[in-house]
Each structure stands twice: as C-alpha cells, then as structure tokens.
C-alpha cells in the first residue's frame, strides 16, 4: 500500500495524513493501520500527566531536547480538550515546543479529545502506533490534565511521569486521589517557587504509604522546566525505570496489556457499530426507543431482542 510505504520511508506528510484519517474514523485508516502494525512495538512510550499549567508542555520540550542530545528520535502527541459546547478546540501545547519543529527527527502532533474522557483522545493510541512505525524511538504523550481521572495514559505508556507544582495543598490532594497509583516518576516542577521542598517531601511521604507495586519505588524529582534544571536527572530516571522494566520482562507484560485493551476496545466499537448499522437496516430504532420511553418495553429486554433479531 502506497501510504504505508511512504510512512515507513519517513514521509512526514503521509504519516500526518494518516493521523487525520484515524481521528476522523475514515475507513482507509483501518487498512493502513493493518499494514503498519507489524512495524510497531519498538517505540518507548512515556506519558506526561498533571494539572493544567503545571508545565507539562515545557517539560516535554525540555525532555525532547535532552533525548535528542542522547541521539533518540522523538515523537510527541499533545492532547488538549475539545470544548463541549462548540466542538472546537485551541491546541496550544506546540507553542512551547516550536524550537523542535525544524528537526526532522522530532514529530509533534496536537490532538483534541473530541469528547473522549480519561486524559487522552480516542485516537491517541493509534497515532502513537503511527509514530512508532515511522521510526520514532521515544514517544512522549502529554495528557489533557483536567481532572483526576487521567488514568488512561497508564494503559498506553511504559513510563508515566506525574507533574505537580509547589504550594497548592489541593494539588497534592488531587494527586492522592487516583494519580498516585499511576506515577512511575513524580516531578515537582516550578521548583524555583516557594514550597517546592515541602511539596516534594509530602509527595514522598504519601508514596511511602502507597501499596507496593512490584518492586519499583517511585521517586520525586524537582525541576525548573523554563530553565532546563533537573532535566538530565529526570531523563536518567526515565531510563532507570525502562531498565527496571526490561530486566524483569515487564515491558513485554505492559505491551501485552496494551494490546489486550486495544483489541477489546476495537472489538467493542466494531461490534456496536455493526450491530446498530444492521439493526437500523432491519428494524426501526426510533420506534423501539419510543416504546422504551413510553414504558411499554424495558431497555434490557429491548437489547436482548435486538441482538436476537440479528442472530447474536
């Protein structure tokens, strides 16, 4: 396939085009993803999560700089929220990363959530795969950073970096509620601000009390992303975690979990779409819903009947 061949040869435009087709759910995307799949699986995926304004984009830019010094090619997927009212979005993470835009070994792609919850967009996983197939050795994913339920990135990334900032006691509270479990590495960014040491200590204390997650002890690092401080140490920590995973064959295990999730999601989506499509062809969806709304029929029986009618 022409598109696949171009992407494997490193054609940026072709890869970018496929990413759009994936986001738009175009049918050609599926064929291209099929033929790219054997070429995926070697990229090392790093998630960067944390509240808005904590410095995720600035850190991503700095991490990229350090990774390039270590001769790694880099893909960046930066996710920003879609406005639920207009369906539009302003994707502004790139502002902080533009110095890499002329580096042929860095590919930056911004994407909007388009209504998907969990910190990523629906298509993020597939877009990471395209970067992987296009030969990017390290892929950084910057999550939306709106809520506490940014857990989806764990399912995609090999190493998950959780970013917080000094001060705000609530910030630490937010981290406690759910995000503590997902971090392999914790960063207190904006360490040039007052209270960085205290925030780091608080985090360390909470990490000590956290349940054991198989031998890896997450550490807390302080950075000043705007000045490039602490970045070398942070990249070292990421590679330490990578080595930890590889020594214990855990990267493979994570990969298998990611494959399982991707497969199940795809199966669900495809099944649902085909079921609805077929049902629409045979029966009347509108009529059925009216009967449910009028309490003539309950939704549980309705679903059973629909599945039966199409032989499932």
């Amino acid at each position: 396939m022409e598109l696949t061949r171009k992407i494997l040869e490193g054609d940026v435009r072709a890869a970018a085009r496929l990413m759009t087709m994936i986001e738009n759910g175009a049918s050609e995307a599926r064929a291209a993803l099929k033929s790219l799949y054997p070429h995926t699986g070697s990229g090392y995926i790093i998630g960067i999560t944390g509240p808005p304004g904590s410095g995720k984009s600035t850190l991503t830019d700095e991490l990229t700089d350090e990774l390039r010094k270590r001769r790694k090619t880099v893909g960046i997927v930066a996710v920003d929220p879609t406005s639920p009212f207009t369906g539009g979005a302003i994707l502004a993470d790139r502002i902080r990363m533009q110095r890499h835009s002329l580096d042929a070994d860095v590919f930056i792609r911004s994407m909007a959530t388009r209504g998907h919850l969990g910190g990523l967009a629906r298509a993020t996983n597939d877009i990471v795969d395209v970067m992987d197939a296009a030969g990017k050795e390290v892929i950084l994913i910057e999550t939306v950073g709106v809520g506490q339920d940014e857990v989806e990135v764990v399912g995609t990334a090999h190493t998950c970096v959780v970013v917080s900032v000094p001060g705000l006691g609530d910030e630490v509270q937010a981290i406690k509620a759910g995000i503590l479990e997902i971090g392999d590495i914790f960063v207190v960014n904006k360490a040039d601000r007052e209270g960085a040491n205290r925030t780091a200590t608080e985090l360390e204390m909470m990490l000590h009390m956290a349940p054991d997650t198989g031998g890896w002890l997450p550490k807390v690092y302080k950075t000043v992303a705007t000045k490039g401080k602490g970045i070398v140490e942070l990249v070292d920590a990421i590679f330490e975690h990578k080595a930890f995973l590889d020594e214990r064959d855990l990267r493979k295990k994570k990969g298998r979990e990611r494959s399982e999730r991707a497969f199940l999601t795809l199966l669900q989506e495809t099944l649902a779409a085909r079921t609805i499509e077929r049902f629409k062809r045979n029966g009347s969806m509108k009529e059925l819903i009216e009967r449910i709304a009028d309490r003539e029929l309950d939704p549980y029986t309705a679903v059973e009947e629909v599945l039966e009618s199409i032989g499932l």
Partner: protein
C-alpha cells in the same frame, strides 16, 4: 473504520516574523474554536520554515497568518513557496492584519487566498474557511 466519527476543520494560526501584535491572531483563534474548528496556535516569532513544518505535521486544512508589522510582503509569499516545495500547497493560506490595499492583489497573485484587514469580522473569516478548505481528507 466502521464508526464514522465527524470530520473537523483543522487550522494553524501563526504569527510570522518578529511582530508582537497578537490580539488579532488570538481573536481569530478563539472565533474559529467557537465555530467548531480545531485551531493549532504556535505563538509569536515563527519563521516561515517553522510554520510550513508545523502545518505539515499537524496536517491542517488551512493556515491563517497574522501580521501587523508591515513585513507581510516577504513572509506570506515565503510560506507559500515552502509549502509548494514540500508538495503541500493544497493547504489554503490566508492572512490578516494591517495590510495596505495595494499589497492585497500582489499577495493574492502569490497564492494567498484571502486577506482580512482591521475591521473585518470574525464571521467573514469563518465563512471563508468553511467554503474554501479541502473537502476530502
């Protein structure tokens, strides 16, 4: 894929050159978002090379350039030239800012699809994008 998700218009709004006037660009970016588009905003001080490269990576349908410094006659055509070199001149390029009438014709001859000067409404710009971007993905 079987699940047909909707197709969104993606636009890059960019400030080429050293010009620091960014109000107009931000007004346009917000208006486009409110019109349901995905707007990639790359901030101030972009070279034409950076703009072309970002546009290709982001696979945008259109690029909106904003310039109030008077350097539009060099910067706008240069972006077009770079896109052409990279086979990406199907991306619609348009612009705005303080641009004298006599320059607008020349810019259009260089491939800039439209120019919006102070006083132009955001509605006009939205309408332009909706009717002019490539329809097939």
């Amino acid at each position: 894929m079987t699940t047909q998700v909707e197709q969104k218009i993606r636009v890059l709004i960019a400030k080429p050159g050293l010009d620091g006037h960014d109000r107009g660009a931000k007004v346009i970016a917000r208006a486009f978002r409110d019109a349901g588009m995905e707007v990639i905003y790359t901030g101030l001080r972009q070279t034409p090379e950076m703009i072309a490269s970002a546009a290709i990576q982001e696979d945008v349908d259109a690029i909106g350039l904003s310039c109030l410094s008077g350097a539009h006659m060099y910067l706008f055509p240069r972006v077009m030239e770079l896109l052409r070199e990279r086979g990406a001149d199907d991306i619609v390029v348009f612009g705005g800012g303080t641009i004298p009438d006599e320059d607008i014709q020349k810019l259009k001859a260089a491939g800039i699809a439209a120019v919006f000067t102070p006083g132009a409404t955001t509605g006009e710009a939205i309408e332009f994008v909706r009717t002019n971007v490539r329809k097939t993905v």
